[in-house]
Amino acid sequence: MLKRPLRLAAALTAVALVAAACGSSSSTPSTTTTKLTKSPVVIGQIVPLTGQGLQLTQSGQAMKAAIKYYNAHGGLNGHPLVLDQCDTQYIASLEAQCAQKLVNDHAVADIGGDTNTNVTAVQSTLDAAGIPRIGMLMGSITEYQSMNDYAIEPGMILMLGGMEVELIKHGAKKVSMVTVDTPQAAQLKALLAPIAVAAGGELVNVVLIPGTATDYTQYLTAAEANGATGAALAVGTAQANAFVQVYNQLKPTLKMSASSGTYSSDDLKKLGPWAHQAYYTYGVPIGNDPKVPGLKNVSTVLTEGGSGLTPASTEGQAIIPVMAMRGFMEAAGTITGDITGKSVQAAMNAATNLNMWGITPPWTPSKYISAGTTFGSIFANVSNPFLYDEGWNGTNGTDNGTFNMLKYVPGATVS
């Protein structure tokens, strides 16, 4: 072997390792500096923080801040909280491994998590171990139907439906759904079309944007087909940005709706005219909506927890974990014996009208739609069916009130 290549090889490898060492990725429980003396309680969060797909960085930051905040305020009845945050990197096998890790680490709950590529494995593992999932982003039928899941918001499918409803309520009766080309896209038309009809409108197009789209003009043009007057934009941030850029250039007459889960006010400031005309919906409001005073509590947690997020920079994905921790602390605070997954499950099932700072209605985690109807069997454990209807005035979110999605789900009832 040549000597120079060997030295080079060693140098390249050393550079890589040094660069890697300067990076950070935590997937082991982090300890806290508190004076709490009881046994630690492990809180898990299975979430994609890095990797090749959706990255919920703010969600991870928010959980860390929440843990720190509550530890500084007495922990869970004197038990320090330890965060077991597992980065799935949006990889199916890592999602399953993260679930196993939570089991191995004796986590009592998976809070504020999000799984996408291997929901069945994660759900099966946590269900079997009796570890409840609280405040996760419900994106699949599996999560909707699991009685081990306690979601604060109505979940992805109802949120998409809410985007339709919002448009129809604001006069855009013929709606296009613009979303990512994924396996789940095949079911959208069947699920969302009846919701549009129930709201007095019609779903006229489903436009699928592949992850590798080059020029978004053609998708905007496709969204205008069949006389559409409104388009719900349900894509990731990078794609949404590119779509918005085309929208601002072409200035179509389409009204737009989007989820405020991935937009903060600071984000919207950079999106030009599109941002002013669009409607936003999610289970929680835009981070600096002055009409929702409860957001100040979220801001307090994030600030005292050292997240670095301000109300204007906070996205919905950060608010949900904070509220999930709120709900957990309120419910689990009633546990008198050992704090385990099963006792947390029992506490969540027993909890009623938890105070969520007025951001969502008082929360009864176990409230669910009765099974028996076509849609009811899918949305079995939607305990909070309300979505916000918001606008944006250039500085703050503007709250136009909330609407109950159950009204638009044929056959749905609440028990």
């Binding site: 040549l2 290549p5 060997l6 080079l8 090889a9 390249l12 490898t13 550079v15 660069a19 890697a20 990076g23 990725s25 935590s26 997937s27 082991t28 923080l49 890095t50 090749q52 990197q89 990889i91 096998s93 890592l94 399953a96 491994q97 196993q100 089991v103 069945t120 099966s124 593992t125 079997a128 080309d181 994924t182 789940q184 896209a185 095949a186 079911q187 038309k189 699920l191 197009n205 592949p210 992850g211 590798t212 789209a213 080059t214 020029d215 978004y216 003009t217 053609q218 496709a222 941030t237 990078a238 794609q239 940005n241 590119a242 850029q245 250039q249 072409l250 984000d267 950079k270 999106l271």
Partner: protein, 911 residues
Amino acid sequence: MTNLMQFIILGLGAGAAYTLLAQGVVLVYRGSGIVNFAQGAIAMAGAYVWYVTLEQGLGWSFWPAFVVGVLASVVIGVFFQQVVLRLVSKTGGSPLTKVIATLGLLIVIQSLIIQKYTDVPITAIGQYLPSNVWHSGSIVIQEDRIVLFAISVALTFVLWAVVKYTRIGLAISASAENERAVATLGWSPNFLGAVTWGVGSALAGAAGILIAPITGLNPIGFVIVVTISGLAAALVGGFRSFPLTLLGGMILGIGESLMTLYTPNLTSFTHLQVVTGAQTLVSLVVIIVVLVVRGQSLPLRSHVIERLPKLGTGKTRWPELIAGVAMALVLITILFDDVWITALSFSLMTGIILLSVVILTGFTGQLSLGQYAIGGLGALFAAQFVFHFHMPYVLAMILGVALAVPASLLFAIPALRTRGVNLAVVTLSLGYTVSQIIFNNAAITGRASDGGTKIGHVNLFGLNVDSLVYPNRWAIVCLVAFVLCALVTANLRRSASGRRLLAVRTNERAAASLGVSVFRAKIYAFGVAGAIAAVGGVLLGFRYTLVSYTGFDAFSSIYAVAYAVIGGVGYVVGAIVGSMMTAGGLGTNLFNLLHLGSWTTTFGGVLLLVLVIVQPNGAVEPISQQWDWLRRKVIHRKPLSVELPETAAERVEPGSLSVNDVTVRFGGVVAVDRASLSVEPGQIVGLIGPNGAGKTTFIDAVTGFVRPAAGKIVLKDTDITSWSAAQRSANGIRRSFQSLELFEDLTVLENLMAGTAEVGKWSWLTDLIWPRNKPLTPSAVAAVREFGLEDKLLSMPTDLSYGQRRLVAIARSVASGPSILLLDEPAAGLDENESRELARLIRRLADERGMGILLVEHDVGLVMSTCDRIVVIDFGSVIADGTPAEVREDQNVIAAYLGEQTQEEVEVSGE
């Protein structure tokens, strides 16, 4: 019509994007002979630096940020060329190794961008090109897309003009073909390489920045779209023509736009709820059309023989295997917890897919980037049997694998018409299309609401092996499957079927000359590799109660090749070593212990770059060598030797060759013009003529390597004019080559066996289970003895002297006992003594074995003293045909060729 026009115009923007990226690929290929798979990643790096770091992060204005962004791309490209590629060249790396290095660069850049920019929210990128909108009736025209189109046209013209009309442009093109020749003309190849990669990378960076406002910045989508579509456009241009690349880019952009328009029609036509990934069909169709039109089934004489990574022996070391399995069982049942067991299972499953890469790329030299797609198809088929027909799991899995084999042959079809990097591009596109159209469509894979295929808890032979409930049982299933697949792979390596694959891998022309059907060999390789990939895919899919297809994507196939190369793509054990690096495997867990889990992919990319420089044969090679040394020391084995049976040389089946008025044309050039000759059993006919007279072309026509435009070739009273090279060879006509064209990765014995192995009816299957190597035929044994190769049989050709290599090449042609033997300049490079000895050997072959021999030689003395008859050819036509004495006196021959040589050669030959 309005809609049609609108979408055609809308396609110009995307078409311009593809063109801008593809032209950089073409320039780099023209200058270095390498297709840069990392071009899209370099483009993305420039765009991220420009926008995220400088404009958004530091508030720079456009032009300074643009310049620095482009410079960042230039630095990456030049660094890669100067450090990695130059060192790869110095250490003897093949062109394939260099292409794999570009895959490593792609992995490193993409993973570093993900790491660095994960926490940075990327806002909408404002358009800095003029962004007015014009209306023509109801048609909308965006000014920025028109400007992009104009830029792409202007760039095409500039590149074309520079390469065609400037000295440096011509030097760059020449350097890719022959660096040494260019150096003698005063150009530094290193300088030209740096210029090529620097300019090519600058084009990438500029393209990335120009198109980022319309594509958005996304480390995954950006790289895929620019890599596949950019390469497809470059393929249309043949990686050489800038104007045709522009055409290719526009076809792709407009085609994809029209696909968006007509997707609803496609949905209605197919009666599916939704049709996913329709746009991907455009690049695939374009690529396939180009290949059908342009492809070659056999490489031309000018095709460069590539040295490929070294091969293992395929020998199964049973003590080591048993120890390895025992250790794995201890880990699974005692030492590992569920997290580590899951990681081990994952490494084993991906290791199986890597075994398919070993077979395809390692053994057969086919660079396919679609193995994960085939694995996914296996999972899909098996899952459908469970979901729809409630079939028992074992049966469903077997059927799934079986059905994946014909599906894998779809990937083999491009391999029949193309090779090398072109094949990589096609299979990447094919795999991507499969994942987008089939795997992405839940209406095809299962119930739309499930997002996959529900299969429930897997049980095998009544035992629940659900990976979540019983991870250790599942791990044992994976271990058994891996061991079985590894044994099959090792058996293949050692078998006659495997030798045919290796022959094709090393030298398709030589393989065909020995009766190996290149077509069948490639089909077979894709079939076996497809079956093994499907086994891995079925296991990956069936590990959960819902089969999810998201992991069977294009990038997984790219990583599979990268990791196989890291482990050692020529070694069976290399597959399990490489699989450790897969994200989610044991390597990730090890990195997690160091809190570096998300850096696994980056480390894998860096490791690949390091290994292609210092250890291009993979990590396993030095370990294997040291282990062998240790074994020999410990076990004190005697050096291996081959015992030859005592057999007598047999006379060959007599047969005459008659070539009648054969004409060969290459375009407007007539290389052979109505040439005729005949060779009888036991006769040696010489064919001589000046350089360029058409002698080798004549041999190529006789042996089936070029198709004659006219004339007839008759062997043993049968017209073989339309037969393939392999058919002719199998029926008694063999040749040697001027350039030897030995199988450098096979031992001398294996080279001989490649030419003689009899193909049993079921050997394609039995070789996988129990490879039985038949002893050398009497004819082959005779060849070994005649050419004095008894003690060289276990040597590699690279260990032999030039003269010995010549003898091996001829012995290989003789080993099957052909009726007719064509020798193309067999004495080239030999000294006087060696030439004389060779002449005696040739004479004995004719006299004692009864072979009819056509001898092409420049050594006139050798020809005059050895041949019974001589045919002289000049400018493609026969000008004389007679005995040596007659030819010597022929005035035409003296004028055209012999001249004063005759007297000199006569004196030398001693006549």
